[in-house]
């Protein structure tokens, strides 16, 4: 058997296979390195209004803000940062982004705290940001920043349940399907992106609400949600979980989130039903610009009265 293996290993056939594998290895490595140069350039030098700058504020933004808004797309389109800044006289930035999970919010919050001066953190929460499949599916959004700091690395490895160091050496994997990020641009005003008013009523997505009642939360997401509360307490930042208006959110979902906030000693504002007019929504979960302005006004009023009461 040993002789057989010996002959097999050194045969001409084997040489050809090795040559082929070598060609592939060299070729893919060259492409990988070239891709890394392009991606690193775009991700490290984001242009104004570029998708990357808005998307990864938690990495690039070094400006200290007194108030930050965290969350997914409903946060991004519902909180008019300038309006909050003008009314409450505190510098505000909307750090929300489409489809991001609580892990992204945690990293955004940590960056805002690190930048200094943070007084108020508003987390616009929904059950989907905590749900297991969502958290796992969206973890790849953190891949481009895998080597950026230990916390990101730790979170990615924790969610993927394995060490990703080897895989992340390949920029093709690290920046998998991120080409569009480099090309897209999004114009925002202090992080807020308005959805134009269409004049048509939004449709309620009944099927989208089917899974919202299920409490299949990702335990890592729950852990980092609790970490957010602890970090805010430690740094004397007021932390509010707010549920923005939605036509799709169910009572069960609200109860689940209330439960989560209560168990973590976090203040929760249920503003789901403050706006019901379908003309002020783009769809069941997203307010249009008119809706966002009205909601932000309501939010400011609630905050002011709440602050007065606290005083």
């Amino acid at each position: 058997m040993a002789a057989n293996l010996f002959i097999f290993s050194f045969s001409l056939q084997m040489k050809q296979l090795v040559k082929y594998i070598l060609y592939i290895f060299i070729g893919v490595t060259v492409i990988d390195l070239a891709y890394r140069l392009v991606c690193d350039y775009f991700y490290q030098h984001p242009k104004k209004d570029s998708f990357i700058l808005e998307n990864y504020t938690f990495i690039h933004c070094n400006t200290p803000y007194q108030c930050v808004i965290l969350g997914a797309s409903s946060a991004k389109h519902s909180y008019v940062s300038q309006q909050i800044e003008d009314s409450l006289n505190i510098s505000t930035y909307n750090m929300g982004w489409n489809g991001r999970s609580v892990l992204y919010q945690y990293l955004s919050l940590m960056k805002a705290i690190k930048n200094g001066g943070l007084e108020l953190a508003i987390l616009n929460l929904s059950t989907s940001q905590m749900r297991d499949n969502w958290v796992k599916d969206r973890i790849s959004d953190l891949y481009p920043y895998y080597w950026h700091n230990d916390t990101i690395r730790e979170i990615v490895n924790e969610v993927e349940d394995r060490n990703m160091d080897i895989l992340m050496c390949s920029s093709l994997i690290q920046f998998n399907s991120k080409l569009d990020n480099m090309l897209r641009s999004e114009k925002s005003v202090k992080g807020y992106i308005p959805i134009p008013y269409s004049g048509k009523p939004a449709k309620v997505n009944s099927t989208a609400t089917l899974n919202k009642g299920k409490k299949d939360f990702n335990l890592i997401a729950v852990k980092y949600f609790q970490e957010m509360a602890k970090e805010c307490e430690k740094n004397k930042v007021r932390f509010i979980v707010c549920l923005s208006p939605s036509l799709d959110t169910t009572e069960t979902e609200i109860a689940i989130l209330k439960d989560l906030c209560d168990s973590s000693n976090v203040e929760m504002w249920n503003m789901v039903h403050v706006i019901r007019d379908p003309y002020l929504f783009k769809d069941g979960d997203h307010l249009n610009e008119k809706g966002a302005e009205l909601f932000t006004q309501m939010f400011i009023e609630t905050f002011s009265s709440n602050s007065l009461m606290n005083k």
Partner: protein
């Protein structure tokens, strides 16, 4: 074990090295058998018993049919029935019970049906059909029964094609287990290339299209006809990428080990000029299985056109059931059956028409027929993908009534990446179809390397890595 899993990345090279390192054919076959069972048992170890049962039944039945020639018909029937019982129990029992209850309640009788809570054994339809094919071949005298149980067990369980085909014939695969394959770099390189092509089809084409298709088909009521039309077109490529991807990986794996499996796809979606041709190019191993073991025995020596048509329809109707325990599959394949009946009826007239106007060699005529065929296939596959019959009819209605609206473009980046995959797929298939390049025998290491580099870069750069299962596993 999934082909697109990290476990397979380790499993396959280890199997290859040990396989070629083993000195005797007997040891090699035993090792491949053990590897195949290990591969299968990664899903649910206990289901290996089903695989073993089906293997045992057909092995004994084939031997018995030769030994007791007078009773070979009875033995064949017993073998078929036992295998179909396994299939029925694990795949169709709940479906049959539900439908029976529904039928009873329709006539006013309420009955509580027992529910059989069990996971569908992966690839059960594939290996049972492969085993049945062998048994029928032995009965017909086309092959001699395999006396060595382990060799036969390897034929049924050969891991590259075990869970989703190609459904191999004993005349092709069984004999290859008696050849001591030498390691051949050319075969290995072309095999790896085929595997990469399969991974590309699965991860870049199928899984990317699936994101858009799922978002539309799972919220059917909220999308307009144009979105549904786009999703239905993409579903054709999803299905093709998924299944052809698996087949190419299977054929590639086998080739590295020195085996030659039958071709399962020959560019069916872009280049079929009729539904008949589509089924000659699509899922060839299953189509030929149904033709050889269902259609031709049914037609016999009959020359009656109506009987041919009925036999085609029945064959496709059964094929629908083979695909899954749901009426959507039956509808989908009945529609295909209907198309083929129409094709058979108009065949002579069309040929006459084409001859009269010299259309057969005209490119525009070919492309017109290809577009029509694609559209017909897409309509039939709406039923295949829809969650239920009502959804399928809603989709057809929406596509015909409201297709001139703006499609749903929320996941536009996914559509963009899917387009890259589809363009590469079209160019590759065009080159093979028109330039007659036989990629499988292309003896040039540099070209192979370039193809592999390109494919690997695309897979790593824009592939979807969420560990999605292959659609045909459920069959």
């Amino acid at each position: 074990m999934l082909f697109n899993s990290f476990a397979f990345l380790f499993f396959f090279p280890v199997v290859c090295i040990l396989y070629f390192a083993l000195p005797t054919l007997r040891l090699r076959n035993l090792f491949l058998l053990a590897a195949s069972y290990y591969f299968y048992m990664n899903w649910e170890p206990v289901y290996a018993l089903l695989l073993l049962a089906s293997t045992g039944i057909t092995y004994i039945a084939a031997l018995g049919a030769v030994k007791y020639v007078n009773k070979k018909r009875v033995i064949l029937i017993i073998g078929i029935v036992l295998n179909l019982l396994i299939l029925f129990f694990f795949k169709y029992f709940n479906f049959a019970a539900e439908n029976l209850a529904a039928m009873m309640s329709w006539i006013g009788v309420s009955m509580k049906v027992p529910e059989f809570k069990v996971l569908l054994p992966v690839g059960i339809s594939f290996y049972i059909f492969q085993a049945l094919g062998y048994m029928i071949d032995v009965y017909r005298g086309d092959v001699k029964p395999e006396k060595n149980f382990f060799t036969y067990a390897l034929f049924v369980s050969f891991f590259p094609q075990l869970v989703a085909g190609p459904i191999e014939r004993s005349t092709n695969l069984l004999t290859q287990f008696y050849q001591k394959h030498k390691f051949d770099a050319e075969k290995a390189i072309s095999g790896i290339n085929l595997m990469l092509w399969g991974f590309f089809l699965k991860l870049v084409v199928a899984d990317r299209c699936a994101i858009y298709v799922d978002s539309i088909y799972n919220n059917m009521g909220h999308h307009n006809g144009c979105s549904i039309l786009l999703a239905s077109c993409l579903f054709c490529f999803q299905l093709y990428g998924d299944f052809a991807g698996y087949s190419y990986i299977a054929i590639g794996c086998s080739r590295v080990l020195g085996f030659k499996l039958m071709d399962n796809f020959r560019r069916p979606y872009f280049f079929s000029t009729s539904v008949q041709e589509f089924w000659k190019r699509n899922h060839i191993s299953l189509t030929s299985w149904f033709m050889d073991y269902v259609y031709y025995p049914m037609v016999g020596s009959s020359t009656k056109l109506w009987w041919w048509c009925l036999a085609i329809f029945i064959t496709f109707f059964i094929s629908g059931f083979w695909h899954g325990a749901a009426w959507t599959y039956v509808w989908s394949f009945s529609i295909f059956g209907f198309y083929l009946v129409i094709c058979t009826l108009k065949d002579k007239r069309q040929r006459k028409f084409e001859k009269k106007y010299g259309l057969k060699k005209k490119e525009w005529w070919l492309w017109l027929n290809r577009v029509i065929t694609f559209f017909l296939v897409m309509v039939a596959l709406v039923f295949f993908r829809a969650n239920n019959i009502e959804d399928a009819f809603t989709a057809i209605w929406q596509m015909s009534a409201n297709c001139f609206q703006m499609p749903f473009l929320k996941g536009i980046s996914h559509l963009g990446y899917a387009s890259i995959g589809l363009v590469v797929l079209f160019v590759a298939e065009y080159v093979i179809e028109y330039k007659k390049v036989n990629v499988t025998n292309y003896n040039c290491i540099r070209i192979y390397s370039l193809c592999s580099i390109g494919l690997l870069a695309l897979i790593l750069g824009i592939g979807v890595f969420n560990g999605g299962q292959f659609i045909y596993f459920q069959f």
